[in-house]
Symmetry: D2
Subunit: 308 residues, 4 copies
């Protein structure tokens, strides 16, 4: 008996969306970073997969992602050149492909201009830094907290993490050279009588960035304290500062399966999960007692922050 | 008979979240813009409203929003100062308030550095400009489209909109002076053989910004065409350019209900709805036929764009 | 001398994106809500606006938005029918229009199934309710807080707001009949020894929804307390509950400029700003002292909530 | 000479945010899924790390993530129980921890009610399905496209992927049993004269879900075609349907490093990159020629879709 419904595949495409990678281009002590998000889409003679689940012509999207990683090990060039190389590869390498489309998106990072820094390996992105103030009048008394958020920074050298506690669940390898990336959230309180808030704000930001760039990091915690201490040392109006440094993980891609050197130049960027390190630094005598729990500035950014 | 459950109000607060406004500070031909988002929260003797719906002590959150608008008519000062003025006002003006908290957030805008511009009234925000490339190899042939998105710009003078078609549903008033804000999306194609893509990209961006700032706007459409034409005039490699200019509405707040001058300095920023103007500009002889429908660069930014 | 660059407009379109409205269809005591987001796009003979800023053929996008509002006053029908009516109107009404495109998006709301409710006018959307738990062990002691978020509800009758405090900045009109919409956030603590957490959670949600639907609201604050009290009355394990009820503003569209009845059926939905009402309800004797400041559950949802 | 600035660490905390996992609880042919996002935060005697970069007391956040994965291999229980177990573990296992806080968030999935399905292993989440219509009048003629998006579904059995093309860049292992998750986007066109759009819509959704659940999948492509064919077979009004099925990757966590069985129950959920499979299915005779490129419904969802 005839099949009453005749359905045909009128069009097809498949690929990998949003391969987010960071490439570090090292020229001696001077580094450059490329923050790329790549999408690949192939169309062509793939009917057998759609109709019968016959995948013999289907290059997995995972392999497409790997190809992006491997090609990133070579010099990137412009986004157009990188896209063109990938599109040409996919179109030429696999006979079923009739069209290969590659979309490349790049976000910019600028080198942090830090005085006297031996190596130019610290960066801030072109993103959106937001100024914050929380003013409260309670029982007739005014208090003002000041803040910043959205300051994305990374450094491509001068960051280690090792000699940590291990337990049954530890699989992380110690490292003497890792990429450190974070998005600084800060909140500070000034001494009573302060009114030059904008001047203080500029100084706080400058000291935070400089300390981030200059500190040879053994832990994000240590970088956090160094940043806070630098602010207290350099900005006399500031009494205390709370910092939040999410650890935005950048994991080197192992290129050896593709017959390449292992490399330490191409990194996968993970949105989540992410580590999050918080701490509060204030003026005072050392040994004044154990530190309390930091649950700010997350907490501090109430009210109503969570709803957006 | 006794009420078996005794419930008490242990804490209370209410307020208005995310009052987004733009303040234009005009010093002659030189303008400055302040992009503020304000949240107000009041706590105190508001039990009667919670327990009995008795609102006699409740200042509506709408009035709190209005207060933010009215206070923005005065000089803003720092975000701390603006927050402190508002917190002090709420705490002093209404006896039921025990604590008034105000959160102020500011995003930065920079003046566009345009040569020879008579008035400094055009701005770009500190946000994230993204470079884009779409490379396609189809049937053995490579085509590359180039793009930009995320370029937020606004101008505080030199924009009109009037003499438009009206119908039964038209309520918009014509204006000779409006704030014009948009986020530029662009996609262009270069002549065959082009390879200096990065140089072209820099030039395209510079011409887009310059044309936006210098064009006295009678319509967003006109600004769009002026921007596209400028790119074609200044960048010989570009064959055609598609532009998308959402019209991000900034509506002047009427301050007269508060006993203030009407003012043209405090604007409410609307996220949506928004107008969206698209067009494609290419080299060619005028009168070569009616223009087709623009449904790009929206369309162009496939594949997979919509899913994020 | 001839102009060396000849630029032509190859394509054009303009329209209004994301007109978000809610239509209440009342059939006596039984209401139905339609949550629509509409985008309109016109293409055609609009070159004069692009080339010369001549807007005589340009129907403002604001008028397009008004048209959507006015058409929503008639029965909506299916999303296809509503889109088709609008597209036909734009194409027929204005000679310059060659193509009119309308995109209609609808989110679903379901009627809340509340026992014994006289009028079927309370709704929950099909959205994502999220279960939350915060477990803390500090100094050897475990505490657990339980929560819910993402519960969107609205009611189309039984909500008033009037008799409130007014000051110089008050322009809000009192109302005896308003649409009340919120997204419930809740956090509660159970008595020591509680372990039937999932059973408690189900009961808390049921009581929250029922109290929202059944309470004739004179203030969001009053609804909040009624919801909290109902939970304490109905769920003996719960010792206290913190609630956060953002007031998602739905403002009736004035249709009289279009020659229609004023109407109370078509509402503009505002994303922001929004009111936000918080409170904490616990077991205890009335008059046990003034309530403290509520800055949770915003605060409670630390750590790290704000970063996403 | 004494250091003039004395800075102390006033508070500290660190942890892992947003560990997103899916647990499949298998009871024979009947499966249950738990979609959990966990954040861990530790505070205590961690000053040495902040002050000196001495990490000897610091359990890496990566180990905290691993712990969440390992604990998820045991029965989850309620979100409160899962959080409590983790908080107790962290507080007890590591002497420096003074407080351990764990936040657990769960999104719900419901079993798809498919008639005659032998195993109950297909699910839809409680999320937001959106109805779409695109109506166009061009040159006097109306066309209407209909759509759906936001339909999240997954199946925990009946999905394989193997026998695919491999190249130099392929590292993916073939699998006979994988978790398949997607978020269906669909757009269809009806025959001229169709007006029962809402009835068609309901039928299309029912057939899409049923075909997803019932199809033993050898490739997402095959599932896509099966879904499209089923719609054409079951809904005579539909002439063609375009489908977009992002492949939301769920990767089994290898538990063997923790001394556990490898397991196939705990999955890491990756937001991106993701595979994306598109195709268009229409009525017609087989062998009517090679399929074209699918670049919709991504493209179709213009205009203005990308801007939000």
């Amino acid at each position: 008996m005839a099949e009453p419904v005749i359905a045909v595949l009128a069009a097809n495409s498949y690929g990998k969306a949003d391969v987010h990678l960071l490439k570090v281009e090292r020229e001696g002590d001077r580094h450059r970073v490329r923050d790329l998000t790549v999408t690949t889409v192939l169309s062509g003679d793939f009917e057998a997969s759609y109709l019968d689940g016959d995948n013999s012509a289907v290059l997995p999207t995972d392999s497409q992602k790997n190809t992006v990683h491997a090609f990133a090990a070579d010099p990137i060039g412009s986004v157009e050149e990188f896209g063109a190389r990938l599109a040409r590869h996919f179109a030429a390498a696999h006979p079923a492909v009739r069209s290969a489309r590659v979309r490349v998106e790049e976000r910019s990072w600028q080198r942090l201009p830090v005085e006297g820094l031996p190596a130019a390996t610290a960066f801030a992105d072109g993103g959106e830094a937001v100024q914050l103030a929380w003013a409260t009048v309670a029982d007739g008394r005014l208090t003002v907290a000041c803040g910043l958020r959205g300051i994305k920074v990374l450094k491509t050298s001068g960051s280690e993490f090792h000699s940590f506690l291990t337990d049954r669940y530890t699989t992380l390898a110690p490292t003497r050279d890792r990429l450190l990336a974070t998005e600084v959230g800060a909140r500070w309180h000034c001494a009573d009588g302060t009114s030059a808030w904008s001047k203080v704000r500029d100084a706080v930001l400058a000291h935070l960035l400089e300390a981030f760039a200059q500190t040879h990091s053994l832990a994000v915690q240590q970088t956090l304290f160094a940043m806070g201490r630098r602010v207290l040392a350099g900005v006399p109006e500031v009494e205390s500062i709370d910092l939040r440094l999410p650890n935005i993980h950048h994991v080197p891609v192992d290129l050896t399966p593709f017959g390449l050197e292992p490399g330490n130049e191409v990194f996968t960027v993970f949105d989540r999960p992410y580590g999050v390190i918080e701490g509060s630094v204030r003026r005072g005598a050392p040994g004044a007692g154990a530190a309390g729990d930091a649950d700010f500035p997350s907490d501090a950014d109430s009210p109503n922050e969570e709803s957006r």
